[in-house]
Symmetry: C3
Subunit: 349 residues, 3 copies
């Protein structure tokens, strides 16, 4: 079992340790359930109440709360960031063999970098370029002329269509489809004609893509995912969408064709963004929001009504559906009262 | 062609048959379209009107309606449950060969149970344990140290990440991804750091998982799906979610990280549940509901407004967006009238 | 590099060219960024402003705007349809080898048409029939007794369950699952029993299915997708759904079991349609709509509230949740005023 000293972990996060520097830490646990082999992190205010009774080996904590910590601790400015860094030390995901599995089907023209791993039953087509230290899992399909930068990690059962370009350090989870045709059709004499999707997908460095997410190729230009974008599972990104750097998007969100999302946005789960809209930088969209127009001002936006008891909601929904007539009544009442008031005033004259 | 006598099917569901016990039944059809080789089931009140004219070989029916049945019948207390049982008799899904296909890539360390079927081009990595009577289809990827209990059925193109545990009799449809990384990121100096997802996924006995559904591994603890849970297609389950036993969830529903769902819940299609919320046992969520807080009382909940004519809805949406000012007007009017009334009363004094 | 003369492209779309018929055109670009090797199309009114300054080799344009075009042009009645036709000429998607890859696992009983292409590590099970000119990519799984008509194109990592039938010219993108079990369960003594899904999926000619879309098999009858239907990515289609010919559905839409969708419908992204509802022909559903009942009249329908600033929305949501009591107040006020008026009138008598 892997273990690290308190001092080692403290150095890793540029923290200041307090207590026994040589105590061995074997893993991570929540504050309320950590034992004396586990390190824990206090970043969620809901957990402060567990601090006094924690049995953890050590707590990573900010200055403010360190004073009340009953066990070893490491003071850092941001315990959540420290959690990210230390979690990596305890990651025991098995390492893939650094070879090409004999069952993989690799075209002779493929350019393989150094130290590449390709799993069983993966196919890599002609003209593909793969950078150094790339890991590709089992049952992936990398179509013609795709480029993968250095240190990319593709899990299993991933499909990348021809000519897509992934930068360095792009991580792709299982079931992802990159570069399928955008949804472009034109109606002619009652039938749909397909619009050939001539663009591709460009994904910049440090992007992570969650399981079963789909990113369509562009109609003319490319669909572009900029550096540091983080996509959760089952996200749908339409053709010619652009997503600005370091924007993070939670699961089940759908972004329709040609929408432009700014950088440093936070987009919640199950958000829908209609086509051709522009979202500026630094916009936060709360889960379940539906975006029907462009958003030009940074800020927090939402929509959608949280659920309530069905019977009560039924009544309210019925009210909403007659809202127009209610407001008209309200306005009539307002007018009437104003008229009466004026009459009263006139009478008083 | 498979066929069963009325008596046989009646015995299967502990029913009481009436009519010709030896009549041969070759399949199932709806009440209004069944011919004299087909059995049918009356459980949906909308179909009662077809009973009088049915041409079916037999009807599975409750006591109340049996009297008006013009053909053979089987009386049971719950015809829908009888439908489930009898449908299995007519299931002609081809049986997989009970062997390991030569193209499958099975690590030497894998522990295979008795009577296991593994399809072509499936990869099973080191340390995996597979129970008896397990069927795994084609092109699946079972990563390191996964455990599959007895009688699991994995269809095709399924990806299971390392160390996930499936109990007995778990059924997984094609395109499912189990154990991909949860969506955990921390921002440091304007860039996202990944939080390693150290937990796994535990799926208990008798769970069924629909096509292209994704279940993420936990950040520290496991994501847990309890016994008898039934998941439809394209459901997204975030890290550290727990779903209580016998809860059923319809397609396209998304459950964000660390949400806890109780047992015996019924969750409709396209429901969204925000992270860290707790839903108690026996909660029904109507399709399209958005859950933004915890639900502590069993019952039926909903949200979301059914669609209507676009022009009309446009007006109503505009009204909703000004609702705050309308309600303020309403309150002002109320006050004004009250004041007037008080004045009137005072006048009358 | 492929190139075409203006005259050639004009003939292709039955247009009338104006300018230099022999000019060589090498690709397509947007009006504002096209250079003198590119053809462009004016169909979006938002782009009219770029016409005067375009540097394109030629513009495909309607009669009305042709007069103000500063470069070569082709006059057509519908430039968007012309775009679809001409885009195909510039499609450089690599052509698959017309053979069966040696790593594909094809059962001896499979009937292969002429000129069929099957990619690496694809499995085709017993009893399958494949028409002429069919292309199947890598890592697909075609289960027992499936029928594929002529000229079907299956991309990669597709899973088709047993006995499904695809017509001619059906195009299926990667990650699609066709024919998984519909979500049918019946509760008996607190536990779910599975209802075997005995139907299949029938897909008619000229259907296109986007990446990671799922179409479930029917419970008794088939799920049916009629001719010319176009489905975008990540759509979920429940068991026994029927979709009428030439209906187009955008991404992330979910259609629950037994819903019947008419022909020539346009269904936006992330629409939800509850089970057993009927949507008539020629219905347009705007993105994000939730359909809870049948729609019997052609027209445009919508629902759902576009997002707004979170703080403002929070207030409005709170108002909505109390809407019932507000409306009651409004009605009381109305009554009171009416009573007062009547009293006034009485007084005046």
């Amino acid at each position: 079992m892997v273990s690290f000293s308190l001092r080692h972990l403290s150095d890793l996060v540029n923290g200041e340790w307090s207590g026994e520097p040589d105590i061995k830490i074997e893993g991570i646990a929540p504050l309320d359930r950590a034992n004396d082999k586990k390190i824990t992190f206090l970043f969620d205010p809901r957990y402060i109440k567990y601090l006094a009774d924690t049995k953890a080996a050590a707590v990573v904590i900010n200055k403010e709360h360190a004073a009340s910590c009953p066990v070893n601790f490491i003071v850092v400015s941001d315990p959540y960031v420290a959690y990210a860094i230390i979690s990596k030390s305890f990651d025991n995901t098995p390492i893939s063999a650094r070879n090409v599995h004999p069952s993989a089907v690799i075209d002779d023209s493929v350019k393989l970098g150094e130290n590449v791993s390709i799993g069983p039953n993966t196919s890599v087509y002609s003209g593909v370029t793969i950078g150094d230290n790339v890991v590709i899992g089992a049952n992936c399909v990398i179509r013609e002329n795709v480029t993968l930068g250095d240190s990319c990690c593709l899990h299993d059962s991933i499909s990348i269509y021809h000519s897509c370009v992934l930068g360095n350090n792009v991580s792709v989870h299982s079931g992802v489809v990159i570069g399928a045709d955008g949804f472009g059709i034109a109606k002619s004499e009652g039938r749909w004609l397909k619009i050939s999707q001539l663009g591709s997908v460009t994904i910049h460095d440090d992007v992570e893509i969650g399981a079963n997410t789909t990113i369509d190729r562009g109609a003319i230009d490319d669909t572009v995912i900029h550096q540091g974008v983080k996509l959760d599972n089952q996200i749908q990104i339409g053709h010619n969408v652009s997503i600005g750097s370091n924007t993070a998007i939670a699961g089940c969100t759908g972004i329709a064709g040609s929408a432009k999302i700014g950088k440093d946005c936070l987009i919640g789960g199950r958000v829908g963004i209609s086509g051709h809209n522009t979202i500026t930088d630094n916009v936060t969209l709360i889960a379940f929001a539906g975006v029907r127009g462009s958003i030009k001002k940074p800020g927090v936006y939402s929509g959608g009504i949280g659920c309530m008891e069905h019977k009560k909601w039924n009544k309210i929904e019925a009210r909403i559906k007659r809202l127009d007539s209610y407001i008209k009544k309200l306005k009539k009442l307002e007018q009437k009262i104003q008229v009466e008031e004026e009459n009263d005033t006139n009478d008083a004259d």
